[in-house]
Symmetry: C2
Subunit: 570 residues, 2 copies
């Protein structure tokens, strides 16, 4: 494979491009464009940005991803969770609606893009592993709840604010007397329409003999119908004059290309949030991409995906956009609509560009309540209460990390929430592995097998202690090993030999090596032999490069049985 | 065992106390007292505190540890590294010598004591596992260098300051013209004397037929001789008038008992440093205690040690002292001198109390250079360059954590140093385990063994892929597993079955479970069966409690051979 095509996957799929693939890609692009228009406007509103910024973030980033991304069918653009994180990060710096707010959002996209590309080049994709599944799942559920609660004010037509659930609820409670009935009618109507179509339209269409795939597409176009109908209603009934908040004039045309003046102070403030957005966006995107790639036995390369997403975010920053990532719903639509190559993304970008050029005047009368309803319906599908139950049933410590993520996200905001979840899951992981399973073993009579003395009737001797260690040895558990062996030795007065059975030890780090030396040293002082058995090849290779085997007062045996035969009292 | 004696180990050893043990303990106490007097004064100076504070920290804390500690022979009191950390933490709040400085040091002792007790009660001793051996070793080496460099100004008799190596060196370089010759003569003389006695005195005494243990004791008393001789010289030659800095008047008597007025602000500022001091002190102390206990086949309980050390620090805070912990050198002396029980600590405390009552007037003429030389000789034994070499040879990633700890400690101070080391070792651990060893295996001909296809001549089939996973599956490596399996499957077009051989998988957390479900789901979509073999009992028990086995499109086999026989094409 040529080096260049490794970095520009477009050179691979571009070579085989033909008319058949073009047709598939074009069809998918039309469908995704129709879905993306209301979504882009809505997510920009969620991020506290002017609606056109959502459109801008759906043009150049898609082209950039098409050149550098490794997924054939991932659809990038503004997504709900990243929009919420943008609002939270930028809201701490500038007031929504101010010029500084937009500049900060652009800076966030650029920073996040540069970070993603750097992580890709230095192959730091493993950093995403810090986010365990329960933490991500809890974070997305909590974000969905926060977003939905935050949009309620648009449905009710009241002012409101707040980045946390208590603040949002308090703010709404204070305004409950000022609800705008016309706004509520629009908002509740669209909500009901979207929920019903999402739940029943496809089934009804299929029952009326519409083919499944077409029915699915029609159902997914429901938001655009809601947009069209409520624009018509707003104009016909002059809802703007009745206090219904409308989207208002959207600048017509394509975004300017360039970088606004950015202060170092601003960039320094945004480094932390940009990092969190990058990681969360990457994790979300890569899991979607992987799921879709597997369906067609294709592959994606996570470290190369970082570069693709980074390029998309830099493109967003260069064209007055804000942070983007691969979205789940739109990627599935793209895939199901038959997209074959990233060219579908380029066609979608062209579609959105046409919308920015020609459709924006039509959108001035769009009620904000319609967009809010679109967001609420989209994000409530992110709330996964079943996952909470499943994690609780499977593992209490995973559940603790998940619960902490949800509570801190709801109560103190998205940034603290994700950090709390990551720290707690690391802590719990270290806690778990810091006390590895260590079993005293004995010989199963008349066999060469050695099993836990507490579970099996086995033969042991008061002079020989055989200990099986069921975990790799590293700094978090090496001291525990010292403690346990000290305890086991202290209670056996006739002891002459200790055998460590290492069949499940995949690695020994420098801390654990030092602990083993310490154990050997202490046992030597009281005249007890330390022996190893069943040491794995790679572990043995490492040990051979040290002084340990020379200091070891006992021997290394290939098998536990051999050790036992040799050391048992005659 | 009665619950009370679990919390007050004194009830265990106190019952068997007799005249023979009393004699041993008294002798040890006399020797440790002689060693502790100059050390206490010196370490108080290192911490930036008045000399009497060092004595105070060597009275009540020893009594408290004797009641609550589980080690029979650990000697607690001021130690070098903790004194340096105290100076660093308190120096950020108040000027050395001010009343606020002493209050902050007392607050640090109280906070650290409360934290240690709380960690003991909640059994959080595992937190110390965050400090890997290479990080501790690097931290202690760097601290030793920092301390020695910082004491040079007392040897040279120049003013100076700085918490980092560059700052100390710059500060000394600026003062090099102002060296006080009389001070340098004392300092260099004592340094040479202490180095020579430490290196050669014991050997010379033994050659002169002095018994080994006695020779050892005499050699260890060298610092007290240096103290006596330089006091006499200072008085005879009126060195104070020649610009030699003397210790000056030390208040005579015992410390007052009580808590100074502490502001919440002060406590809040000190929480971080107090935590680091607690952890570092605990790790140092517990490793000494464990080494000594093992020599007599005794045991210590790390979580109970936390309570003992916590009680000692609270006692230090209540009696105008500063943070203490178990010291290596003094504990070894105590042990070698024959201490049998913690009563030796109580007798040592009585000895130091007598010194505070009656000896302090004699110490007024003690040159500070003598104390500085004592410190330098003591801490240079902490610098372990051999450990750096050994770690480098054994593991590059452990070495990276160690080097970062040393460089950051020297360049940015002790607190950042230890934090940098801990974070880097966590990161590297996650990085290592995030890419577990995964081997494609095949059958060794005519056996039931399955080995790595890359290392052995084995039989495989294009329709069956057997993968052995050599690590427990958890959030940090579950995504890697998805990637690897996706890659292995994508390159095999005839594939019908994947077998995961789980013989080395000791645990599967919720993230890994979800990844397995995802893998199963993706393989199902392309018509490939997923099977497991050699799943360990406890892992299987957990899996049985979930839906996973019901969703699994293949089977779970007891042995890899059984799986292979069953799935191989007929």
């Amino acid at each position: 494979m040529q080096p260049l095509s490794r970095y520009l996957p477009i050179l691979n799929w571009g070579r085989a491009y033909d008319r058949h693939i073009l047709t598939s890609d074009l069809l998918a692009a039309v469908i995704v464009t129709i879905m993306l228009i209301p979504q882009s406007l809505a997510y920009a509103m969620l991020a506290g940005l002017p609606p056109e910024v959502g459109l801008y973030a759906s043009i150049l980033p898609l082209v950039a991803y098409a050149f550098f991304g490794t997924s054939r069918t991932l659809a990038v653009g503004p997504v709900a969770v990243v929009s919420l994180m943008t609002a939270s990060a930028v809201g701490q710096i500038a007031a929504a609606g101010s010029a500084g707010y937009l500049v900060a959002a652009i800076a966030l996209a650029l920073l996040s893009g540069v970070m993603l590309v750097a992580m890709g080049i230095f192959r730091l994709g493993f950093l995403a592993n810090f986010l365990s599944h329960p933490v991500i799942s809890g974070f997305i559920t909590a974000s969905g709840i926060l977003i939905a609660a935050g949009q309620l004010r648009h449905i009710l037509g009241v002012p409101g604010h707040g980045d946390t659930l208590p603040a949002i609820v308090m703010s709404l409670a204070g305004e409950i007397g000022n609800v705008n009935i016309a706004t509520l009618a629009i908002g509740a109507g669209v909500l009901a329409f979207l929920f019903l179509t999402r739940k029943h339209l496809k089934r009804l269409l299929v029952a009326s003999r519409v083919p499944g795939r077409l029915a699915d597409m029609i159902a997914r176009a429901a938001p655009i119908a809601a947009v069209a109908v409520t624009i018509a209603a707003a104009e016909a009934l002059d809802l703007g004059a009745r206090g219904v908040a409308l989207v208002g004039a959207i600048p017509q045309g394509l975004p300017a290309f360039g970088v606004p003046a950015l202060s170092l102070d601003l960039l320094a403030t945004l480094v932390g949030p940009a990092f969190l957005i990058s990681i969360v966006g990457f994790v979300e995107s890569v899991s979607v991409a992987q799921t879709l790639a597997a369906r067609r036995r294709q592959r994606i390369d996570p470290n190369r995906e970082l570069i693709g997403l980074g390029a998309a975010n830099i493109a967003a920053g260069l064209s007055s956009g804000y942070p983007v990532t691969g979205g789940f719903a739109r990627s599935v639509v793209n895939f199901d609509a038959g997209a074959q190559t990233p060219a579908a993304g380029i066609f979608t970008a062209a579609g959105i560009a046409l919308a920015a050029l020609f459709l924006t005047p039509l959108l001035a009368s769009l009620p904000q309540a319609t967009l809010a309803a679109t967001i609420i319906v989209a994000v409530l599908s992110l709330v996964d209460l079943g996952a909470i139950r499943r994690v609780y049933a499977y593992s209490k410590s995973d559940f603790a990390a998940m619960a902490a993520t949800i509570l801190v996200t709801l109560g103190w905001g998205v940034e603290l929430g994700i950090v709390a979840g990551v720290l707690l899951s690391l802590l719990l992981h270290l806690y778990r592995t810091s006390m590895p399973h260590i079993a005293v073993v004995g010989q199963v009579p008349e066999t060469e097998h050695y099993r836990n003395v507490e579970r099996h009737a086995v033969l042991t001797s008061p002079e020989v202690l055989s200990i099986r260690i069921d975990e790799s040895l590293y700094f978090a558990n090496s001291r525990y090993l010292e403690d346990r062996i000290a305890a086991l030795v202290a209670e056996r007065t006739e002891l002459k030999h200790v055998i460590l059975m290492c069949s499940a030890v995949n690695a020994i780090d420098a801390s654990a090596l030092e602990s083993l030396e310490e154990i050997n040293h202490r046992l030597t002082e009281v005249g007890i032999g330390l022996h190893l058995s069943e040491v794995k090849g790679p572990v043995m290779d490492r040990l051979k490069a040290t002084d340990f085997l020379r200091h070891l007062n006992g021997r290394v045996f290939l098998s536990q049985h051999e050790a036992s035969l040799c050391l048992r009292p005659q």
